[in-house]
Symmetry: C2
Subunit: 397 residues, 2 copies
């Protein structure tokens, strides 16, 4: 396999370490490259003479802002740019402004300290407001940091404007190097992550539905052996919780399209809707699972057999449709919804018929209380299946 | 109201701004105080002579690590301590080690650069591993930062050990001041936040259940007017999503108990279980809501009236039990579970009877298909109610 290395380092690495690990290693190497590049600012004499010790800020910048995906790095970088510029500007003002008055060293110090206190308080307060925290947390943090540094420097250094300029220049160099390395060296796109996550969520739900349906109609003796898989349940829950990650991915993906990867018109908001529908689906699948927990398992074997084959067919078809949807998402092709919707509507119709059939059977056999409950629960199970189908139809449209 | 100000500044502030805003303002002021305190390191001559320009690192430390809750600040601070010490130590080693060989300036630079690349790559790789990222993200980030700074400083400064010492000392001062200010000045405890969040989640679910039950049995004409509240639905979803926040609060609360607020024995892991149960409850409530979306509303008015009163009674009692639980959590009193469990079991029994009754009625009136479906859905609704009751019982135990 080593012979391949020359022309396919990435594939080779994936083969050797697995997909996840290979990506992490590449991320690590990207960070390493960026840090070495910015260290040159400090190490090389020509550059150090220009920027002085301020060049170490480029290192700090790279370490703090380098993220896994390109979109996140770009967003953080721009956030940081704005925060740095505002912070630097206000810091310089705070330093220069007291010089206008004739108040002596002590007075100036007092003004600086109280200005520092007031503006840091205000900015931290501002940072804690939820909508600001969500979008500009990083930017406000750097505003506070740069502002306090510049105003404190101003106390000792006479040429604060040059100092602040150098500081800002090295931070911008750090930002630029981070973004360039992140975008050019084996970039990891948030958009790809998003597609992969939606696809894996759909796959997880699909197998969960199929397994739940199978499990539900297994003989009760089997169930008591405790052979129920917790994995799928956790999978579904993680689908629900992954929504927050997906949302931030969408946010980052929007930034990526600004550098021209997908074109500005790519409708990322649709992905929000898709993500919502998927998490609704996950909630239904979880409540499907809760049917399995019911205390009264369905009794009458003959009736259950009748329903079983139909429900399994429905479960499998729903699962396969979800898998296909996932594939379409990954390949970014438009899927032909009408076919799937047709089959879903057929299933939905079948389910309705089945439920009515069950009820008629039930009144015919004059069941006792516990049997009635068992049937009611089977009906519930089927109704939830019906709900899932409805939601899937929405997803397809 | 101003007369109260002297002896109750916090209450007064809350009265003036509302609870959330008051807390944010106090947080902002705490950040302001800490930043002014660490700026003194740089501003005051006596201190500046000792630490030099390194004292600005104390400012950076405070800005980056100051968090809203005490637990989070302590955890971040300790994380940062360990990261800083390791990073500083390895950085000094990387600087001093090449001096043992006789390889000249160029050779030493090459060794430093490659060492920097290798260790930063390794650390970034390590940082991306999910379990490390969850717990030590901050620590590893500061390891990378301090390590690269110290090794880069080593290229120009001769007395790297003193330089690194000063750097580390100012960072530790920053950490200490952050923690002290955060814990002593109007502290916000993660444990309190956790209790408040669990309580509000329970309250939200309680009102959601009550409203869902009421809504379900409203005449269909009313429903079509579109007077359904989206708020509650969002509330339930946010209960599910708040689980991640709650989990980190529990993590932070564990740190707080180490400084002796609750005692080491306080069983925080129980809260994890409670949080899980609450989020399960939320999933059931959401599926309760999905019943309202069903296409076939229950038809026969006489039967519905019968069920309605019972279900509403159950819904209200479930809701009030949840509210009481929330109160108990806030006040940290043990609630007398046996009473509640008794009434829940009574309700559960009632529901079972009701479902059987419904089925018998159904076979008596020979309903048509659409009516059957309507009843089946009502049954589903009641079964989910039953599930909620079961889960609530688990919560009480």
């Amino acid at each position: 396999t080593t012979s391949k290395r020359g022309w396919h380092p990435l594939n080779h690495l994936e083969h050797l370490l697995g997909w996840e690990d290979a990506r992490r290693l590449i991320h690590g190497m990207k960070v390493g490259i960026s840090i070495v590049l910015v260290s040159l600012l400090y190490i090389l004499d020509a550059l150090h003479d220009r920027l002085g010790d301020n060049s170490m800020w480029a290192i700090v910048t790279v370490v703090v802002m380098f993220r896994f995906t390109s979109g996140a790095t770009i967003q953080k970088g721009l956030n940081r740019c704005v925060g740095t510029i505002c912070g630097g500007g206000m810091g310089i003002m705070l330093v220069l402004w007291p010089h206008r008055f004739n108040i002596g060293e002590q007075g100036r110090l007092t003004i600086t300290a109280s200005g520092l206190f007031i503006i840091c308080t205000a900015a931290s307060y501002f940072r804690m407001i939820p909508c600001v925290k969500k979008k500009y947390d990083h930017g406000v943090m750097f505003f506070i940091m740069i502002f306090s540094l510049v105003s404190v420097f101003g106390v000792r250094n006479d040429d604060i404007v040059k100092q602040a300029n150098d500081l800002l220049a090295s931070i911008f160099i750090g930002i630029t190097i981070s973004i360039i390395v992140n975008v050019l060296v084996f970039p990891v796109w948030a958009a790809d992550q998003l597609h992969a996550s939606l696809d894996s969520n759909l796959n997880c739900l699909a197998s969960s539905i199929e397994e739940n349906v199978k499990e539900y109609f297994r003989p009760i003796a089997d169930k008591l052996e405790g052979r129920r898989s917790q994995d799928n349940f956790k999978g579904c829950k993680s689908v629900i919780y992954s929504k927050a990650t997906d949302e931030s991915m969408i946010k980052f993906a929007k930034w990526e399209c600004r550098i021209g990867r997908f074109g500005l018109k790519h409708c990322w908001d649709d992905y929000l809707v898709i993500g919502n529908l998927i998490s609704d689906l996950a909630i239904f699948v979880l409540s499907l699972r809760s049917c399995r927990k019911s205390k009264y398992p369905a009794h009458s074997v003959s009736l259950v057999e009748e329903i079983k084959t139909q429900c399994e067919a429905i479960g499998n078809s729903v699962g396969s449709i979800m898998r296909k949807l996932g594939d379409h998402l990954i390949k970014r092709t438009r899927c032909d919804a009408s076919d799937h919707i047709g089959s879903l509507e057929y299933h939905s119709h079948e389910l309705t018929k089945l439920i009515c059939h069950l009820d008629i059977k039930l009144s015919a056999i004059q069941a006792n209380n516990s049997q009635t409950l068992g049937f009611a629960q089977t009906t519930q199970f089927m109704l939830i299946l019906g709900n899932i189908i409805d939601r899937l139809e929405e997803l397809l449209i």
